[in-house]
Symmetry: C2
Subunit: 300 residues, 2 copies
Amino acid sequence: MSDCSKPVRDLACYIGAGKGKMIRPGLVLLSGLSCGGITKEHIRAGGIVEMIHNATLLHDDVVDEGATRRGAATLNHLRGNESAVLLGDFLLSRVFRLCVELDTKAAETIASAAVRTCEGELRQTAERGNRRLSESQYLEIIIEKTAALFSGACSLGAMLAGGNGRQVKMLADYGRNTGIAFQITDDLLDLTGDEAGTGKPVGNDLERGKLTLPLIHFFNSAGKKEKATAIKWISSRRTNAKRAMVSLAKMLREHGSIEYAQRRAEEFVKRAIVSLGGIKNGDGKDALIETARFVAGRTV
Amino acid sequence: MSDCSKPVRDLACYIGAGKGKMIRPGLVLLSGLSCGGITKEHIRAGGIVEMIHNATLLHDDVVDEGATRRGAATLNHLRGNESAVLLGDFLLSRVFRLCVELDTKAAETIASAAVRTCEGELRQTAERGNRRLSESQYLEIIIEKTAALFSGACSLGAMLAGGNGRQVKMLADYGRNTGIAFQITDDLLDLTGDEAGTGKPVGNDLERGKLTLPLIHFFNSAGKKEKATAIKWISSRRTNAKRAMVSLAKMLREHGSIEYAQRRAEEFVKRAIVSLGGIKNGDGKDALIETARFVAGRTV
């Protein structure tokens, strides 16, 4: 960002200060390693993928009116929605500019992942407050909004390492399944997580009317009385947030809905690992397997 | 947008319903016409440039909390900031995807214009409330936030028509100067325009602390007492907006600041026309000259 104007640099430092997990650029590199080796192009592509992710975080925080992220105050909270919207746009435009220098296939992979991410976000918004959202609709949304970028990152890594069509496809499948597991876990942490660990407040999805997997399972299998009690806790969130969240999480746990979502996340981890079947054994593959296991087991 | 999901189509129809002036795609086509002819690629590029413009309008309305645009309620007003932010991102991502199919030079031109537009917007935000903004700082900002896309649209049109380096440069200069004249006029209309004509409320720039050319001229040349009166009118906008705007515009007019800004816009129109000196006479060039005159003389 050294070639940027001062106002841009002043804002961009807020992004650099956050401690992200850097999973997406990590996937670009590990996918490269597992398919032949890491090149300079991988570093650039990893940066591009993380920039897209950061742009979506900036805009998500505007959309969700989020005040904390990665354990620190969000840019929209500190400097207003304006700066957060514009800095996100700036990052997307820079991504776009950087992609011009990549080969067409790589640029197309990144651009398509960005489009799908936005489509997923828009679809999620359209479904807000829909208590009848099915598990398959939920999966369709997270495949777009989260797993498309994971999948794009992995196929990009394979492609830039000179991987053949079969390898690129395997890595794309691995990335998609890992992305699904990541998002199911993220949504679980919004219900059961610890703010000190996740760096963002719990219950945010509920606040914004987003139905996630544990609640979908609960609403599909609980009795009338149980559902009414859960709705009562959800509604009482505004007056006593902590108590409502603890009671709701307890109820979901007792009903088996938390365990169900965890099991589903683990199933997608298994699918991710199976996707790597044809990839040569080695450090790259081992680290990809570890990463898939990490995303479903994490508490941060 | 026929290949988009329903939530995207539902929102995208709000953009299609607005009656924009379509100046930017018009410039792509006319620049093509003036340098050899219009191709299918020009139609695609015109669409891309208008999509970038629409994305910035959607996000501007979130940033400015604008409630009306092009004579109709804004998307953020009708469907919330969330939809406006996400639809803008979706448009930018689609632009990015469409550019992959253009040749590298064309894609680079569009991407660079998008980056500069964002940089200009960020710089404008950083300068909000700065009553000491100079004319040259103001020009630097509008060259980025507005004229870069005008210039990009024109050089793209020339490039896609097979224009040589000299022609592309001439069209880029024409576009930049026309873009500056356009923005100065846009800012004038925010002070003196008629909401029924412009389709957006007057005084929005003042409301958001943006200093534009007439006020910069006024603050640089008025006496202490006059300045104090102007500041009083600006501050009283919240209690009696219409009266404050009429009084302020009258004051700026009497001081010669409105006329000064109009003169400056016309100077840039002249420069735009001079830039076309080496372009072959014909319908394309005539229409570009007309367009430059229109942007500075318009009341809408």
